[in-house]
Symmetry: C2
Subunit: 196 residues, 2 copies
Amino acid sequence: MVRRSGRRPGNQDTRQSILDAARSTFAEKGFDGASIRAIATEAKVDPALVHHYFGTKDKLFLQSMNMPVDPAELVPKALAGPREEAGERLVRLVLSVWDSPAGTAAVALLRSAMSNEWTARLMREFVVTQVLRRAVRELGLPEEEAGLRTALVATQMAGLAVVRYILKVEPVASADPETLVRAIGPNLQRYLTGDL
Amino acid sequence: MVRRSGRRPGNQDTRQSILDAARSTFAEKGFDGASIRAIATEAKVDPALVHHYFGTKDKLFLQSMNMPVDPAELVPKALAGPREEAGERLVRLVLSVWDSPAGTAAVALLRSAMSNEWTARLMREFVVTQVLRRAVRELGLPEEEAGLRTALVATQMAGLAVVRYILKVEPVASADPETLVRAIGPNLQRYLTGDL
DNA sequence: CGTTGAACTCATCAGTTGTTGAAATCTTGG
DNA sequence: CCAAGATTTCAACAACTGATGAGTTCAACG
């Protein structure tokens, strides 16, 4: 490969700051609500530069969802250990992920999935194939119940996310994580291993 | 009051069909995603006619949320009877409301509240003052726990709505109501009267 | 009939959206 | 210095949004 002349790729800060602005704006307003211009403004950058780096808005969204959160290692981590405490461990783990910077992407995806078909498919695919399916295998539940049990877990976790991060209803919005773990953990436990 | 001459208000069908189109379109796409033009098209009507009847988009939304669902009578109905079965009764009642035509408005409000600040405030106000506050009084819970308990109930119900009506994740989306009552009822029961 | 006023339509406004292509700016290698 | 080429900006596009106001149609009343 012959080295060509010319300016070498310079300030990568801009690209990253666009990505950050995109993530937080998508999380605040959802996919449709977040305009390229608004993202560009928050990144202190020209709107056209966003397209220069990322092409279409779709691609920008996909890139900004690309986060160091790997369900392949997180799911086993949550389910490892005594089966009777899986519920509490699950709430604790999920809250720690969502409260972290990487969680902003998850909130953005959830919020967008509520009003945009495209992102809804994206999220369904991710949740079903990357999270729920893995959980089913890990738990070794009978095929019959597995689908319902994990979907019920999903309802409780989705509701927690909606109320805490999107609707921000008190006292859940600013509750201490451990309070929520104690309150919600046992209910998840019942969905996982209890009588239905 | 002197009766004036001129054409009397005629075909009220149009007004109602606009209202129906608005409700279903808001439910499908949310407040921002549903355009006046799309609503008018579905109602087979000129876009300007929508403004003629309802003024602004905001007012149209408010009108289309005006439904014969009165929390003042529904909340007591759900909580009356043996305290130990309140959880199951609650799930059953809420599902019957949401699965009815009137439920379309509720789905529209929930979906809109996810990406639009204005509708989010609207929904928070409604849920907190009309539903949760009533439930607290009806249950006669100690002031301290009441807020957390009812908010936890809200997380589970919101999650159920999101998964069943918005994300439409199986098998919850098309599950028999009584299956969900048996599965979720006891968990609500714990939020209401159990140990936290 | 003829007038009144509601029901309805048409054309259009101003603003925002995603996206594009040409041009300007600037850093670097030769 | 000079030219290459990446970075960044400007201006503009077509499509869409909510909204307005003037104009047309038409049923009902006197």
